[in-house]
C-alpha cells in the first residue's frame, strides 16, 4: 500500500526541502520506490538540492495541464535505485495547480510508487492547500525556536481542519549544547506544546550545508549525524522501532576530545 507523505512546516527556512530530499533518499535506500514531488511552484529548489536541475524537461504544471504524460516529467536519480523527482514549475505560481488536480496526480503516482513525498511550500495559502490535498499523512518540521513552533502549531490545526489527521513531528537543527545552557527550547517542551507524535530529532550539522550545495543528500554521507537521524526517520516511517540518537555525544571533534580528557559535562 503506497503512502503519500507531505513535508510541511508553515514557517520558511526550517528545512522542509532538505528533509524531503533526505527522507526520500533514505526511503529509497531501504528498497522502496520513491517519488519526490516538489509542490513549491514558482520557488522550486528540491531539484537543486538533489542536483538534478539540469535534467528538467517537463514539470508538474505540464503534467497537470496535459502537455506531457506523468512518466515524462519524472526524473530518475541515477545514484539511487528507485528514486524519482517530479519538479515544480519555475515560471508559474501556486494557482497553476488546484487541490483536485493534485489529488488526481497523487492517485496516479500511487500506482507506481511505494512513497510519494511532497515538499510543501511555506505559508498557509493556496500552495499549502494544494500540497496537502492528496496526502495520507503529514510530517511537520519545526526548529526549536518559538516562531517555528508557533507556526507548526498553526499548521497542525489547519491539517486537522483539512482531515489530514496522521501527523508526526520532526524537530530539526537541534543544538544540544544550547539546549543545555537553556538558550534553546528543549525537545520535551516542543513536544509538550504541539502534542503530536515525535518521529525524529535532527541535530544541527554543518555537513548538511556542504552536502546540500553539492546536490547530494546528507544520508549518502556516512559521517553525517544529521544524515543518520534522517535514515532513522525513514526507518520509523516504515514502521520500525528505532532508538533516538544520543545527540549529547559525537557533537564534534572538540567534544570527543573533551570527553576523552574527562571534561565531559
Amino acid at each position: 500500500m503506497s503512502q503519500v507523505i507531505v513535508i510541511t512546516s508553515g514557517k520558511g527556512g526550517v528545512g522542509k526541502t532538505t528533509t524531503t530530499a533526505n527522507i526520500g533518499t533514505a526511503l529509497s535506500l531501504l528498497g522502496n520506490k520513491v517519488v519526490l514531488l516538489d509542490a513549491d511552484i514558482g520557488l522550486r529548489n528540491l531539484d537543486v538540492v538533489m542536483g538534478l536541475e539540469n535534467r528538467i524537461v517537463y514539470d508538474i504544471v505540464d503534467v497537470v495541464e496535459g502537455r506531457c504524460r506523468v512518466k515524462q516529467a519524472l526524473i530518475k536519480d541515477k545514484r539511487y535505485e528507485g528514486l524519482y523527482l517530479m519538479p515544480a514549475a519555475q515560471t508559474r505560481d501556486k494557482d497553476a495547480v488546484s487541490p483536485e488536480q493534485m489529488k488526481k496526480l497523487c492517485e496516479q503516482l500511487r500506482e507506481d510508487f511505494d512513497y510519494i513525498v511532497i515538499d510543501c511550500p511555506a505559508g498557509i495559502e493556496q500552495g499549502f492547500k494544494n500540497a496537502i490535498a492528496g496526502a495520507d499523512r503529514a510530517i511537520v518540521i519545526a526548529t526549536p525556536e518559538i516562531s517555528a513552533v508557533r507556526d507548526a502549531d498553526r499548521i497542525i490545526g489547519m491539517l486537522e481542519a483539512h482531515e489530514v489527521r496522521d501527523q508526526a513531528l520532526v524537530i530539526n537543527r537541534v543544538r544540544m549544547n544550547m539546549v543545555k545552557r537553556g538558550d534553546m527550547m528543549a525537545i520535551e517542551d516542543v513536544v509538550d506544546l504541539l502534542a503530536i507524535d515525535l518521529i525524529g530529532v535532527v541535530p544541527d550539522d554543518e555537513l548538511i550545508v556542504t552536502t546540500t550545495n553539492r546536490g547530494e543528500p546528507a544520508v549518502s554521507d556516512g559521517n553525517s549525524l544529521a544524515g543518520m537521524a534522517f535514515k532513522n526517520i525513514a526507518s520509523r516511517i516504515e514502521g520500525n522501532e528505532v532508538d533516538f540518537l544520543d545527540l549529547d555525544k559525537n557533537n564534534g571533534f572538540v567534544d570527543k576530545l573533551r570527553t576523552m580528557f574527562g571534561f565531559g559535562n
Binding site: 518559538i146 508557533r150 507556526d151 490545526g157 486537522e160 537553556g182 528543549a186
Partner: protein, 233 residues
C-alpha cells in the same frame, strides 16, 4: 433536474439550514426559495428561528437579495441570520445568539456552556456568549472570548477574555497551568510578564483561578477559601 430539490430547508438543533444546490441558477433558487417559504407557513407557524445558508456560493448582491426576501416576509419569525458559510471556517464556534444568556437579576446560574474537546491551537478561536470549557491545552496564538466564565482543563497559553457580558456575575478564569499571553475579565486586561518565553515543562502546573476585584485581575491557587472570598466580595 427536479427543481423542487434545489432549495432544501433542514431543521437542526440550532435553527434552520437552507441548502442551495451548487449547480442551480440563482433565478431558479430564488423562485423555489420564495415558494418553499410560503409552503412552510403552516409548519413554522411563527416560530422563532435562526437561519444559515449552505451549498452554492452566492455573490454579495445575491446573498442580500435572499436575506431581503427573508426579512420582508412574516411567515418565519427570524431571530438571527447567519452569514453565508465560507469555504474552510477556522473559527470553531462563533455563536451569535441574540438572547441574553445572563439574566439581569445577576445570577450566573442561567449561563449556557460551550464545551470544546481537544486542543485549541494557534489561529483557532472560540467565541461564545455563555461560558467556555476546554478539555485540552490552549496554545499560544489561540483565543477564547466568553460572555461568562472560562475553564481550561489543560495549560492556558493563549489569549483569554472572560466576562464579556456585563451581566455576568463575578466571572473568572480557571486553568491547570496559567500562562496566558493576555487575560481579560470584564473590562480589565492584564498581560503576562515579559521574557518568560522559554517555559520549562518540568515546572509543576498548579490549578489557578483568575478573578476580578475592584477592576484588578488577581490570580491565586484555587481552594475553598479563595472561592468563598471571591463569591462573597
Amino acid at each position: 433536474m427536479d427543481l423542487e430539490n434545489i432549495v432544501i430547508f433542514k431543521g437542526g438543533r440550532d435553527g434552520i439550514t437552507v441548502i442551495l444546490d451548487e449547480d442551480a441558477s440563482f433565478k431558479d433558487i430564488k423562485t423555489i426559495f420564495i415558494q418553499k417559504l410560503q409552503d412552510a407557513k403552516s409548519f413554522f407557524n411563527g416560530a422563532k428561528v435562526n437561519i444559515r445558508f449552505k451549498g452554492k456560493v452566492l455573490t454579495k448582491e445575491q446573498q442580500e437579495e435572499l436575506i431581503e426576501i427573508l426579512s420582508g416576509q412574516n411567515i418565519l419569525n427570524i431571530s438571527f441570520i447567519h452569514g453565508f458559510e465560507e469555504d474552510q471556517e477556522e473559527i470553531i464556534e462563533s455563536n451569535a445568539e441574540p438572547e441574553q444568556w445572563f439574566s439581569r437579576e445577576g445570577s450566573s446560574d442561567a449561563s449556557m456552556t460551550k464545551y470544546h474537546i481537544g486542543m485549541l491551537r494557534s489561529g483557532q478561536s472560540i467565541e461564545y456568549k455563555g461560558s467556555v470549557v476546554v478539555l485540552g491545552d490552549v496554545n499560544p496564538g489561540a483565543k477564547i472570548s466568553a460572555g461568562g466564565n472560562v475553564l481550561v482543563l489543560g495549560s492556558l497559553k493563549g489569549i483569554v477574555h472572560a466576562g464579556k457580558d456585563p451581566a455576568a456575575h463575578k466571572p473568572y478564569v480557571i486553568a491547570i497551568g496559567m500562562y496566558p499571553a493576555q487575560i481579560g475579565i470584564g473590562n480589565s486586561i492584564a498581560r503576562s510578564p515579559d521574557n518568560v518565553y522559554l517555559q520549562k515543562s518540568s515546572e509543576k502546573d498548579e490549578v489557578l483561578i483568575a478573578y476580578l476585584n475592584d477592576s484588578q485581575i488577581y490570580i491565586e491557587p484555587i481552594d475553598q477559601k479563595t472561592i468563598a472570598n471571591i463569591m462573597n466580595q
